[in-house]
């Protein structure tokens, strides 16, 4: 059975030959350890030099115009897919991430109105920039914001997806993805306190923002589906450790219809669409189903997620993707820890298909050796019919 068949069967709640695997989202060290090459110098590595940082502070707009970061991000994600193939993953979570722009030598913005801090892992490699706040504090800020690059994004995403489909499409099941869904697009460019205030006081305006983002996200769906990618990961963190960030009924009220349109568009084009949401999403599971998603990715054990309870709650109306702990098991765990974690996950949620295992998210300390143990453990425990 090939990788595409394996993943497709799992997503359709049929039992393939064994439980499939899905890669992490973005981890520099993992990628270059697998490819056995040094981590290339990102442009931001030079920003620590006080002289260069002063120049960057002044010339950031010019650097953005000449695509200062674009090459770094593009190269990284192409290399990531190469690493995912070499590692033997069945599915690759790939992202078109050319959205970041330099603000100065310490911060970035993105084309949607967010502000980030440039951060690095403990080996000095650049990590995904860390969100700090939104640029918009009033509806007028949003309306005034220049959206040319925002609106051009789906077309750029499509071209990238065509390239990766051609290069990697036969070797691995490709999930297309954009970084942010409708909820994150609604709150992050404003910051959470401003967002909370606006949904209380300017509900009509927030509904316009959601509608605008929905129309744009539909084009992102097309950008993956029309490029021939078989799956989409709709990435939209809706929960914390303590549960959903917003009352689920309010989440449904604000976003439900838009999300149904998005999943409907994917399905019309013959593409599966799963929702990635960190945290504990147990209260949102019925809504994920009603919104039309085929699966749920993340399922963080450190957020108190018991995949067995989630399976009881969702049955086989949702596939589960991810779930393997990154805080300890896939980063610092022993072979026994990894085997135990994989065995437990399969025992609780593998029967009848609908399970694709992998890191619950990205972590700079994820070790290649631990991922290899993960694959071995799936070979031992994850062959169908299961005998656990």
């Amino acid at each position: 059975m090939n990788k595409h068949e394996r993943v497709k069967m799992a997503l359709e709640h049929k039992e393939p030959d064994k439980v499939p695997t899905i890669s992490p989202m973005d981890v520099q060290k993992y990628v270059y350890d697998v490819l056995e090459t040094p981590v290339p110098d990102n442009i931001t590595k030079y920003f620590k030099n006080p002289f260069i940082s002063k120049i960057v502070d002044i010339t950031a707009p010019i650097l953005n115009k000449i695509g200062g970061l674009e090459k770094d991000f593009r190269n990284f994600f192409v290399n990531k897919m190469a690493a995912d193939v070499k590692m033997g993953f069945d599915a690759s979570w790939n992202i078109y991430a050319n959205i970041f722009r330099l603000k100065d030598s310490t911060c970035m913005t993105d084309i949607f109105g967010r502000i980030y801090k440039i951060v690095e892992d403990r080996w000095g490699n650049m990590e995904t920039p860390s969100y700090i706040d939104g640029m918009f504090k009033t509806p007028e800020d949003f309306k005034r914001f220049k959206k040319k690059e925002w609106e051009a994004h789906p077309e750029m995403m499509y071209k990238f997806n065509v390239y990766i489909k051609e290069r990697f499409g036969n070797d691995i099941y490709l999930f297309g993805s954009h970084l942010f869904g409708l909820f994150e697009q609604a709150w992050q460019p404003f910051g959470f306190p401003t967002f909370a205030r606006l949904i209380m006081k300017e509900r009509g305006f927030m509904e316009e923002v959601i509608e605008y983002n929905k129309q744009w996200y539909l084009k992102c769906v097309d950008a993956s589906a029309d490029a021939g990618l078989p799956g989409i990961i709709y990435s939209d963190d809706m929960a914390f450790k303590s549960g959903p960030m917003l009352n689920p009924k309010m989440m449904d009220d604000l976003f439900g219809d838009a999300l149904r349109e998005i999943t409907g568009r994917a399905h019309k084009k013959g593409v599966k669409i799963v929702i990635h949401s960190c945290g504990n999403n147990k209260l949102l599971l019925p809504y994920f189903i009603s919104w039309g998603f085929d699966g749920h990715h993340a399922l963080e054990p450190t957020a108190g997620v018991d995949i067995g309870e989630f399976r009881k709650e969702a049955g086989h109306k949702l596939s589960f993707l991810g779930h393997l702990d990154i805080a300890h098991v896939l980063s610092y765990g022993t072979r026994e820890d990894v085997f135990e974690n994989v065995k437990d996950s399969i025992k609780k949620a593998g029967e009848g298909g609908g399970l694709i295992l992998g890191p619950t998210n990205s972590h700079s300390d994820i070790r290649v050796q631990n991922l290899r143990w993960m694959m071995e453990a799936i070979d031992e425990f994850g062959r169908y019919p299961l005998s656990l």
């Binding site: 801090k117 205030r197 914390f240 303590s242 960030m245 009352n247 309010m250 450190t302 990154i326």
Partner: protein
């Protein structure tokens, strides 16, 4: 308790951002002191909001919204509050640890603690251990709250605890940790005194630490 003060509580609980200033003005017109409005009206309202969060009726956004309601109300009261009449339980230093810049949880903790009568010294995000040590020395604070969302930054908690110990201050302070990647086990491993699973639990945790000190 006067009806007008109860109306302030109700406005906070019901997240009535449009009505809060009206009910506060009614209290002021009734001759109720600003301190009483804050303590019996807004603080008790926030406590009730925290209870609803613990019970699963309210969510993170509701906690943040209640903070916005209180902020809106405080605009009427700030210049009327007499600092001498405001008794503070204790000083709490709050910080998101070095390498991490997430602060929603920390801000909610600060809001809940402030409403309960603690004096908050919020050092912000990406705070070095040295800065925390320096602040303990300068302010005499005996309670510290450390927040981190990122698993990769938990080492900064240990660095902070170690720095406090090296400065000879460990016996003088109590340290609580919180954040998405933290746990009771992590608190033990890092040498902290307490762990809070939610921002709402912070009030009890800090009150217990104060009592134990």
């Amino acid at each position: 308790m006067k009806e007008s003060v109860l109306a302030v509580q109700k406005a906070v609980i019901e997240l009535d951002i449009d009505g809060i200033t009206g009910v506060i003005q009614r209290c002021l017109d009734d001759g109720i002191s600003s301190e009483e409005i804050v303590q019996d009206g807004m603080s008790k309202g926030l406590t009730a909001v925290g209870d609803k969060f613990e019970e699963g009726e309210y969510f993170l956004a509701d906690l943040v919204m209640s903070g916005e309601v209180v902020k809106e109300g405080m605009v009427l009261l700030e210049d009327k509050i007499d600092p001498d009449k405001t008794v503070k339980k204790g000083k709490v230093i709050l910080a998101t640890v070095k390498g991490d810049i997430h602060e929603i949880g920390k801000s909610i903790v600060g809001m809940m603690l402030s409403a309960s009568g603690f004096e908050i010294i919020d050092l912000g995000v990406d705070v070095s251990p040295d800065k925390i040590v320096e602040t303990v020395k300068q302010t005499g604070a005996t309670l510290i709250g450390l927040s981190t969302l990122l698993t990769t930054m938990v080492g900064s908690i240990k660095d902070t605890v170690d720095a406090i110990a090296e400065a000879g201050l460990r016996e003088k302070v109590k340290i609580a940790i919180g954040g998405a990647c933290t746990s009771e086990q992590l608190a033990d491993e890092m040498g902290a005194d307490a762990y809070g699973a939610t921002a709402v639990q912070a009030v009890k945790i800090f009150e217990d630490m104060l009592a134990a000190h």
